[in-house]
Symmetry: D2
Subunit: 402 residues, 4 copies
């Protein structure tokens, strides 16, 4: 941490709002640096300028945390996902730490090293094997001296507990964030129970990221908070949701939507949706508020702008944005100038321009989770014959839905 900067727990203990960053894999996929499917972060090594620029945009939008671009950067995952560059997990993790630190130093941000769920767990490897994977990533984070650690994007609370247990050995503050909804983890453990387990495992900050839209994630964190408080425990809370509307999702979240990952555009939240999200998260008592897949810099800026009265300042990027559209006063056409007011944007119900498309999809519901043969991970790409079989199963799953 740069001298003079306050740590994550100092901030949260003081009641400060901490703004997280947005979604790196999705944003960099659109910019041409991440491959959807594998979703691995080799670009930290191969295209550092692109990763650095995205960090900078989030910093400028108000983020107080630069998460290392290390999602799915464990060796078991890289190996499973066609890593033809022969980059080691260590190389990727180190490069990502350096980039995060470089940009964090340009402003008031901390560096958080992140681990996430592993193919090893899904393939039913042992606790010690899975923990060894987390340990390996953590070693890099310690070498690079990140400011705190996040175990995020876990669908099974058990694996998250294992991660927290490993990360705790570092002595750094640990945050734990699941990608589950109000119905609980994939084994049906409720959000409240999940949170209690994570706090007991040693996490100081618990919450939710990814898989569901902002309001659903806030609701789930609220359930976690109630669980923790009911158990007589204490924690800080974080939320880093999708920037996609997911009212039609079932328990596995947006992965199950037919639009995932290449046709989610009509679901993207507007900046005004983000104002509502930030306010609601704050009301519920969450103080670490950021984003995940789909969050672009302007989404984070909207969060920062909504909470500017509480924080006492606007982010740097607000020099290029009038609050609630006020800069439209400068537009060429007078009827666009008439839109430069809060009540206009606060109440807009934006049209899709897609009259042949519906509002809701029917999510796939295979209802399988860790332990099921379909989920054992392998490094080979799926063959044509396997695809055919998958489509059969899929059809069956769809029809069995009520």
């Amino acid at each position: 941490m740069a001298p003079g900067k306050k740590g994550i727990l100092e901030r949260l203990n003081a009641g400060e709002i901490v703004i997280g960053d947005g979604g790196f894999v999705f944003a960099l996929e659109k910019r041409g640096y991440v491959k959807a499917g594998p979703w691995t972060p080799e670009a930290a090594v191969t295209h550092p300028e692109a990763v650095r620029q995205l960090h900078r945009e989030f910093l400028r939008a108000g983020s107080n945390v630069m998460q290392t671009f290390t999602f799915y950067a464990s060796d078991d995952k890289l190996e499973n996902r066609g890593n033809n560059l022969r980059l080691t997990g260590q190389q990727v993790n180190e490069a990502a730490c350096d980039l995060a630190r470089e940009v964090a130093n340009e402003g008031d941000a901390l560096v958080a090293g992140g681990v996430s769920q592993t193919p090893s767990y899904l393939s039913c490897k042992s606790e010690s094997e899975v923990k060894a994977i987390f340990k390996k990533q953590m070693d890099v984070f310690m070498k690079k001296n990140v400011d705190f650690l996040i175990a995020e994007y876990f669908e099974h609370v058990e694996e998250a507990e294992w991660a927290v247990q490993v990360l705790k050995t570092s002595g750094k503050p640990v945050a734990a964030s699941l990608c589950i909804g109000p119905e609980g983890d994939l084994n049906g453990v409720s959000p409240g129970d999940c949170a209690v387990k994570l706090v007991k495992a040693g996490a100081q900050i618990v919450g939710i990221n990814c898989h569901f839209d902002p309001m659903t994630c806030v609701k789930t964190v609220k359930l976690m908070k109630e669980g923790v408080e009911h158990a007589g425990l204490k924690a800080h809370y974080m939320v880093q949701p999708l920037a996609y509307h997911t009212p039609d999702c079932s328990c596995q979240g947006f992965i199950d939507l037919p639009e995932f990952p290449f046709a989610l555009e009509p679901r993207i939240l507007t900046r005004w949706d983000m104002h509502k999200y930030a306010r609601e998260a704050y009301k519920v008592g969450i103080r670490y508020i950021g984003g995940c897949c789909g969050f672009e810099p302007y989404h984070i800026r909207a969060v920062s702008e909504e909470l500017a009265p509480e924080r006492g300042f606007l982010p740097a990027a607000s020099e290029k944005h009038g609050m609630w559209g006020s800069a439209l006063e400068m537009h060429t056409k007078p009827w666009v100038r008439a839109r430069s007011r809060r009540d206009y944007w606060e109440n807009i119900l934006p049209a899709s321009g897609r009259p042949t498309c519906p509002s809701f999809s029917t999510p796939e519901n295979w209802g399988v989770t860790k332990g099921h043969a379909d989920l054992i991970q392998h490094k080979e790409a799926t063959s044509a014959e396997e695809i055919r079989q998958l489509m059969e199963k899929q059809k069956k799953a769809k029809t069995s839905v009520k």
Copy 2:
């Protein structure tokens, strides 16, 4: 032009496909470097790394043209739009040329200097005053030795003709692109007649950019082509549409949509929509195919991928993208792997996730254009009293719509 590179006309005369770039002002607005309302490009001076990075992403996505980030960079516009940095038009234009050239040199791309419609024209200044503005920008482009010139984003063909007449004096190839739909320019001049005027004024390439969705723009360029051919003239054709669905727009395009500019998200085209667009543009005989507002690098990559058979190669960014979703073979969940096929994505009808929102909006239809008092431009921001008056007019305009 770097030695050994073919010029724009050489390419088009040889029947090559030229891929344009995407929308700088909208992309950089979301990244935090452009202010919606003024829409001016001071970031070329103040944040060159952000502009450079976006150029690089488009280059990587397959763009053969780096347009200088000089939209609305005329002195009369900068002055009208709250230019509190006291940057001159010359400073902004020069910086933009340098950035475009730097990145163009990294690949097979040309630099195009661009001028666009002026507040002076809208405020009824004389032909010589308006032409002096174009001349001033052109002088910078000549000093920086761009490869060709584009007069783009004109709503009145008359102003575009004036721009072409000025740019022709440079001796560089000139492209002219209007932001109109099939109904013609704001004075009702048909696309065919507009195209003939522009060709007669000296443009070698004519077409459409902005204001409408891809299929509408392609249709309009088709009408231009028919007009030019019917007049016994010759030209090349270009199209650089919005990346937003606009089936509900009237003659002024997306500006008139209530969602403009801050709630257009549900209208964003998917990459698969872009495949259809690229194919249709190609079929119609258009060979300069790019994008405008809303086009992100992945949209341009989709255009490049669709036309890869004709061009014989994929863009660099396709190393991070499986054609038609094929990299989903590597996804963790088998039901997502089953989506790794063309017919899945080609036929998807994506849901909006917004059940309280409609498919179509009702565009505003003030029906005023150049010459109307409401459109005289001034540098002061709109006052509260003026906003009140605008809302009255707006209400009237809405109700008078059939």
Copy 3:
């Protein structure tokens, strides 16, 4: 005609508004007396009480015309459509005339005998064969002394001309109504040209019924009127549209929609839509204003209520309806009482309650018409093998659509 009643031409010549009735085959299908597919009116004989009741409801709603329930009641059609009751066309037509007259006598309504397009024409029978069919129906109408004659629901203007030529021999006033849209008849004859042909054939009233929604039909009648006036001719105009929204239809109208005929519910017009329709029809100069498929008695009442100021009276059924919802003043819940005002209902944008359904369908576009082998009519039901072949063709037609 009952003594003292004014005839149809007397009324129209005097500038009176004549309110037509609604859609018998669709309403009686829902009530259980007409079979969708054959669509033939045997119920006039077998269930007179059901037919009489529907006539009465339309009379009560303000209709000035009782159309005989004789749609598709020609012998060639009855034979082609599984007439297992062995009823003759004459029996059906006579019974229908008696019912219409009985109810017409209960109020200020006229009886109109109606003929419609024949399977014989579609099967390329000769002019004299087709005319003989019209003649046979007309003979019944003359025997029963109806007040005027309507040739309606023709997709080809040629067949309508033949019908008019036959009906003219009766000496009764003749109205002719096509089921086409603004693009013209199935051979591409424009609405204006169609209207001129019909007037020249002897029709005193021309217009449009069925196949498209009210606003589209009014627009088409407007084109007919312009054609007639441009030709220096004179006529009265009628319109009897669908009560279904059809913005997504192509030239064959609602038949081509995938929802036809058993899933049109979400498209049904509200009574408030009918107010707008009636006003627009009146503005355009149409004075015979009614409805076709989907029009229920309350739709006709809405037409009557909108035009009450011009006509000087409300229909009988308005004793059970507050204008613009005013009777909601009497509702139990105060928030429903707050809806008892015109501006509430005039501006409502009703939700579908169907989030997985789109706003638009893609109509089928076989693009075949009279003369094509696929349209030769036969009495046998379609076999399973034929259905299979049809589905092949259908698939091809769908994909060939742009």
Copy 4:
């Protein structure tokens, strides 16, 4: 009961399916005989032919129960709702009984006398006053010797218990049906607890009618059944839902939708939706299956057709309907003939044809119920000043919704 007919309990005890009828007030409102707002059934006296015809259509569609058209026919309601004909409750109830009996005698149907919630209860009258009102209606039903009694459309289980206690004194079988959803009655009593109370009060048949769509009502009856079984009691179950999709409703059901009652058209269920409803209701163990507001004869026919395999016969009206659209084999156009198959109609997702309308509305949520001053009933129509005040409250209620 006609000699030889089995009573309602005999049928249900024998495991037979009993098909109910559809919605009289809504159907007759559209036909011009009921006034929306008051919703009272004076037409039983003034227009018996219209009421008789609707009974016949339901009988023909398969209904085994003719409910007397006596909804809101209590004296306190008639008085409160502008009964300017000075008809007494007794006159209306007697006429309704005669009509139901007349048509029941034409087929295999029973007559059920119905009472429903009273303005007296809502206005906080005493138990004995409210019971006196039920007693008065029951006396007519006894005089006319109906076959069984239904207490239906109650929002508060307490009032329904009072009704059942009165009706039990008749010695006739008693059914009790609430208009509540899965969240319970307006005081928050759960469906399971409501059902137990009603069974304990003496009802042999319990269930749900009105206010919600079929699937929601079936779900609620399922909760009632679980409650009854859990309490170790026994009952038969009935369901008579709306024919409108209401996925966006909150606890007061469709009354709170902005579209109620004059813009519900886009929500109307298709006949195919009814097949799914009938099957689901049967699966859950419900054996008295009918409909309420919005149900037209063809909806009841669809219920009868779906359950024909279990019942062993089709209803009379199926002579005019091919199962699953099979009669389209006889349609003129071959592409419509290709729709004559079950999988086509079973999977159709019908478009609304309304691109400017949403899928969901935001229901009003005043959150007031019996005991609140706003709900004290009075006979005067609401004044303009009261409407103004209502709109204020409404606005407040809307904004307070999350």
